[in-house]
């Protein structure tokens, strides 16, 4: 049973790559300048940008890039936000505060701690009333989330924004999560081809490969620093036209075989 989805927009942000064009440059042997500071997340109004935690800025930045590339109106897109760990800085703050002064917990940090914080900020900023979701599957969050988003695009025949992003760990959770830097990516997926189509992907569930894919020509440190980067970089390399096939882990013993059918 294979599924075909059509990619209309791609977003990317890490401390080394400001967007998908920067990945192209990297793959062509001209490493791009690193982005300055935090993800700009210009889709958010300024006051929301000040209140939003880093995980939200990252997710909104890549979502905004992908939707801008697609030319679609963000309010028409259903959205699925994936993240293995959510906002690890807020988790660190919450657990630290609960251990010492629980009644002093910040209400803003609490409502920012929900796994669907980015989906909430995004739908509020874009006036989007479409279905929105927030999902995770540990190290398989990218593959499992892509499956969820593709299934939604095909089952309901509607374009879907899929975002997957994770920030660096903080405090005592840092050595446990082994997430040492931020990485986010986003894709606008459509059920049918259109003039907006950048690439067509065939997705198929299959037994998980014994050896995980790596990012090929990309620095191994990028994948080691973030589980979402490790999962997503092979697909981004495919979408950059440097490969035609990759496999993402989708669950314990399950992989998602991804084959690119054409590039616009």
């Amino acid at each position: 049973m294979s599924m075909r989805v059509h990619v209309e927009g791609i977003g990317l942000w890490s401390p080394q790559l400001a967007d998908f064009a920067a990945l192209h440059a990297q793959l062509q042997g001209t490493p791009p300048p690193a982005p300055a500071g935090k993800p700009p997340a210009s889709t958010l109004p300024a006051n929301e940008r000040r209140r939003a935690p880093e995980s939200v800025l990252l997710a909104i930045e890549v979502a905004g890039q992908a939707v801008a590339m697609s030319g679609r109106a963000p309010a028409e897109l259903a959205c699925v936000f994936g993240s293995a760990f959510g906002d690890l800085s807020i988790t660190d703050y919450m657990c630290e505060t609960l251990a010492h002064a629980p009644t002093e917990l910040s209400p803003t940090r609490f409502h920012n701690s929900v796994h669907n914080a980015a989906a909430g900020y995004w739908t509020i900023a874009t006036g989007c009333h479409a279905p929105s979701s927030a999902v995770c599957a540990w190290h398989d969050s990218t593959g499992a989330g892509l499956l969820e988003a593709a299934a939604m695009a095909l089952a309901d025949q509607r374009p879907v924004l899929f975002v997957c992003s994770d920030v660096a760990g903080a405090g005592p959770l840092a050595p446990i999560t082994r997430s040492t830097q931020a990485f986010g990516c986003a894709f606008v997926l459509a059920p049918e081809t259109s003039p907006r189509t950048l690439a067509t992907l065939s997705l198929q569930l299959a037994p998980r490969a014994a050896t995980p894919m790596d990012g090929g020509a990309l620095p191994a440190a990028w994948s080691e620093a973030n589980a979402t980067a490790a999962a997503a970089l092979p697909l981004l390399v495919v979408l950059a036209g440097r490969d035609r096939h990759c496999q993402m882990a989708a669950a314990g013993g399950l992989g998602l075989e991804i084959l690119m059918e054409n590039v616009a």
Binding site: H115, V135, A151, A155, G252
Partner: protein, 398 residues
Amino acid sequence: MPQPIHPLAVSAYTVTSALGHGVADHLRALEAARGGLRPNDFGDAPLACWIGRVDGVEDAPLPAAFAAWECRNNRLAWLGLQQDGFLAQAEAAIACYGAARIALVLGTSTASIGATEEGYRRLENGRMPADLERSGVHMPHSLTAFVAAALGLQGPALTVSTACSSSAKVFASAERLIRLGLVDAAVVGGVDTLCGSVLFGFNSLELVSPERCRPFDRARRGLSLGEAAGFALLERAGAAPAAPRLLGYGEASDAHHMSTPHPEGLGAELALRDALARAGLDAAQVDYINLHGTASLKNDEVEAALIGRIFPASTRASSTKGYTGHTLGAAGIVEAAFALLALEHGFVPGNLGGDEPDPACGPQFAWRGERRDVRIALSNSFGFGGNNACLAFGKAAA
């Protein structure tokens, strides 16, 4: 508007909450209008409030083979899986379809964060204590990863974490995977346990009632938090001709505010109308709605107005949060189970705690339990971030 879906069979379901272990305990409590809330006795310095705590979780460690997953949330999941023959039903489904052809989609708001909180209370030189240096319990997928291992499932496995709509949305995800032929069946559900994050978090937002929560009462003072586990097995209708049906679902976003609902209930209404459209139903055909009804001032005001403008008086509506407390990421599956119990047993649960009805509530409200035929039942679930879901269930066609 979405196309109608082919109904799916809900061929097994189970629920464990402050009302007891398994569906029979719940039906008895609902019929007797007996709530499960108690004064808060959770943690070292409990807030003065009421909670829906599940008895027996402390005494039910995980089997040794699953020790890496040990934490309160996974204990509650394991306790829940053992009720109502659910483990045997899941095993039968695996024998029928194969473990890779069954999806697992579970909802949770905070998963095993209680274990992370505990680690921070007893850090050793700034590090997690050795017994909690287990990466599997310090992430939101902990629940689903544990249940996949416990049931031996090998298909797609996903955690939905959209706060209080989480374990309603799992039905939608599962239906899509089955409709597309990616799997033949799905185990759905959700588990959330009491923990400092939610007790002190909702307290910081001034949303926790100092007394038992009173949904839709004019003098309501906020919510009571609870914990629960629930699971359901979804298959194509032909596999279980007599089982109740998932008829439809709807999902929508408020696009309004992170922690308060849209003042006119816009996202909630879109989710409700989406669910009716997928189920091919008119509002007037709905016999019972299990409301989100948290007993927060705003939610109940908005939801009462929504029910009043869409449904006739013949549609009965109630919140069951007064029995269980608000079980957050588990509320969707708990209240789906209550909707299914209403269908199966012809009983509309009364809206416990609504002693002096808010004048915003219309004639649809069932303030006391009612014995009547229920053919179509809905369940509303609304979460932080303006995340709304509505489920539609019905009896199997005669």
